[in-house]
């Protein structure tokens, strides 16, 4: 059969690569013959050949002595596919189409293997194949593809570089754990691969960030779905640990990515992941020196960085949708009717089951609240730069008013959600951190709440406490605000009923 003939040809290729180096002239001759003699002369037989080669390579892996060389065939296949990518004419079709075809074939063979017989499926050969693509591409692209002799090809490959990674990322998205649980750990290993993750983080003009966020959100969604209170499987715990380690690596190497994408990460982070939340929100720009947050004499208005608006990669305005007009109109001229519209829009029509600390479901739209709060922050930051701090660091400003009114008129849950999201903005020294410290500190001490005052204070303290009670890291902004409240002359925390009446909490605050 043609499949059997493909097996023979591929086996010859594997043998050849064991005898000569991959840039030997024989290799070029062999590939040319593949094309000239009709093995790879059109897309149908290309698909047939690659399918057969992949199936044979996977079979070879499964049959190999596990202590020996198990990847010989897979390594040879990846070498062939990359060679074809470089050497082809690309007259009738594009590099993109070629790559899409290759990945599609892999995905189809993989799907069959994964679904058909659970007992024999093994993720490793597929992982190896994809890992090899990344390694081969990394070698090829060194110093802007300088090793590619032909100038025209070199230019084409250079402009294709970002697309290569984004196509790879798109297919990785198809392989995600929800779709193929038997590939989960290989998938996470690919997402964090040394020749994928740091590249995606550093592509010019942040060209890899959108797709990288897609993949990280895939991972967080999976964790979110299977982090059930009291019932977390070992496997899911291991997924969590790997995820945490990956985020720590990103925070170390490219903290700017976490800084600019914190909004979407918070939207998808499982609600009980306080430490991971802190890791993401603690990211500090690479060269920034940060003053001691526990210094009670800290004057934020004198810190230069506290004037700067943080960059936001994804504009939250797109998520406000129907409420954008009422919110923006309110920020221009506050009114009760606008407030009604906004608040009504924040409640869900169905309960959202969420395993939180002290609650199991939500009736408010957490994402919409986050979008509005961040939007207010962005606008306040802009105004601070445009006019003056007095316009913005002012309880009479519409920015403050909106947040105050949402809390004042909302249910306890809405109060909690708004305050929680505001506290998320207490990050590294920047204008948003500074502004929310101002707002939250004022909200903590103001008498304007009237009979709701204690409730609001309790929610603010609870929300801060759940961020500081966990192991390190803690964000700079949360530490600053917490220190200010502990040292406040205006309110003695130890006199508050909700602290006094619970021995464990009282003890904690006395220590703090």
């Amino acid at each position: 059969t043609s499949t059997e003939r493909y097996y023979l040809v591929f086996t010859e290729w594997v043998r050849l690569l064991q005898r000569v180096t991959s840039d030997d002239k024989i290799i070029f001759v062999f590939i040319k013959q593949l094309m000239d003699k009709g093995v790879l002369s059109d897309s149908d037989n290309f698909i047939g050949f690659v399918k057969a080669a992949l199936e044979l390579s996977v079979y070879s892996f499964k049959e190999s002595d596990p202590t020996g060389e198990v990847f010989t065939a897979i390594d040879a296949l990846s070498k062939l596919l990359i060679k074809l990518f470089i050497l082809q004419d690309f007259a009738g079709y594009s590099r993109q189409e070629y790559l899409n075809t290759v990945f599609s074939i892999i995905l189809l063979v993989f799907s069959n293997d994964h679904e058909e017989d659970e007992a024999t499926f093994n993720e490793r050969p597929y992982f190896r194949l994809l890992s090899n693509f990344l390694c081969e591409w990394a070698t090829l692209r060194g110093h802007n593809f300088i090793k590619v002799a032909d100038q025209k090809t070199r230019k084409e490959l250079l402009s294709f570089d970002a697309e290569f990674y984004n196509i790879f990322a798109s297919y990785l998205h198809s392989f995600q754990p929800f779709a193929f649980p038997g590939f989960s750990f290989a998938w996470i290993s690919l997402l964090s691969h040394r020749m994928f993750l740091p590249v995606m983080l550093r592509l010019p003009q942040k060209a890899g960030w959108e797709k990288l966020m897609l993949l990280l959100i895939d991972l967080l969604k999976f964790l979110n779905q299977y982090t059930i209170k009291g019932k977390i499987s070992d496997a899911v715990s291991v997924v969590y640990k790997g995820t945490l380690r990956i985020f720590l690596g990103i925070s170390n190497d490219v903290p700017q990515f976490l800084i600019e994408n914190h909004y979407e990460l918070m939207n998808n982070l499982p609600i009980s992941y306080f430490q991971l939340k802190n890791v993401i929100l603690s990211a500090i720009p690479l060269k920034m020196l940060v003053p001691n947050p526990f210094d009670s004499d800290l004057a934020l208005e004198n810190i230069t960085e506290c004037q700067n608006p943080p960059v936001v990669f994804y504009d939250p305005v797109s998520d406000i949708q129907a409420l954008k007009k009422p919110v923006d109109n309110y920020l221009r001229i506050p009114s009760n009717s606008l407030l009604r519209t906004i608040i009504n829009g924040l409640y869900l029509t169905e309960y959202d089951i969420k395993g939180g600390v002290g609650f199991d479901m939500l009736t408010t739209n957490n994402k919409l609240i986050r979008a509005i709060v961040l939007h207010v922050a962005v606008e306040a930051g802009l105004e601070n730069g445009r006019t003056s701090s007095n316009a913005v660091f002012n309880t009479k400003s519409s920015y403050y008013q909106l947040l105050f009114d949402l809390i004042h008129d909302g249910t306890i849950e809405l109060k909690f959600q708004v305050i929680q999201v505001m506290i998320e903005q207490l990050r590294y020294p920047n204008i948003h951190t500074r502004w929310f410290i101002y707002v939250l500190r004022d909200m903590f001490v103001t008498e304007a709440w009237e009979e709701q005052r204690t409730e609001v204070q309790e929610i603010i303290l609870r929300s801060l406490l759940e961020r500081v009670i966990v192991h390190n890291p803690h964000t700079w902004g949360v530490s600053v605000l917490f220190t200010q409240l502990l040292n406040s002359d205006e309110v003695n925390l130890l006199e508050l009923d909700f602290i006094n009446n619970i021995p464990e909490i009282k003890h904690m605050f006395v220590q703090l």
């Binding site: 070698t139 060194g142 290993s189 720590l248 170390n252 306080f274």
Partner: protein, 47 residues
């Protein structure tokens, strides 16, 4: 409450002192248990 991350941070190769060092370019695996050996990073050899 999370966990003490210092051993995880150390296993990543993130320095304890104030020096900065990139770790993702030599990242072996998301888990310390599967990071038994170092991996070859990207490198370039001039012709």
């Amino acid at each position: 409450l999370g966990a003490d991350l210092s051993s995880m941070i150390h296993s990543l190769g993130i320095p304890r002192d104030n020096t900065r060092h990139r770790v993702l370019d030599t990242f072996q695996s998301p888990w310390a248990e599967t990071s038994r050996s170092e991996v070859e990073p990207t490198f370039f050899i001039p012709d």
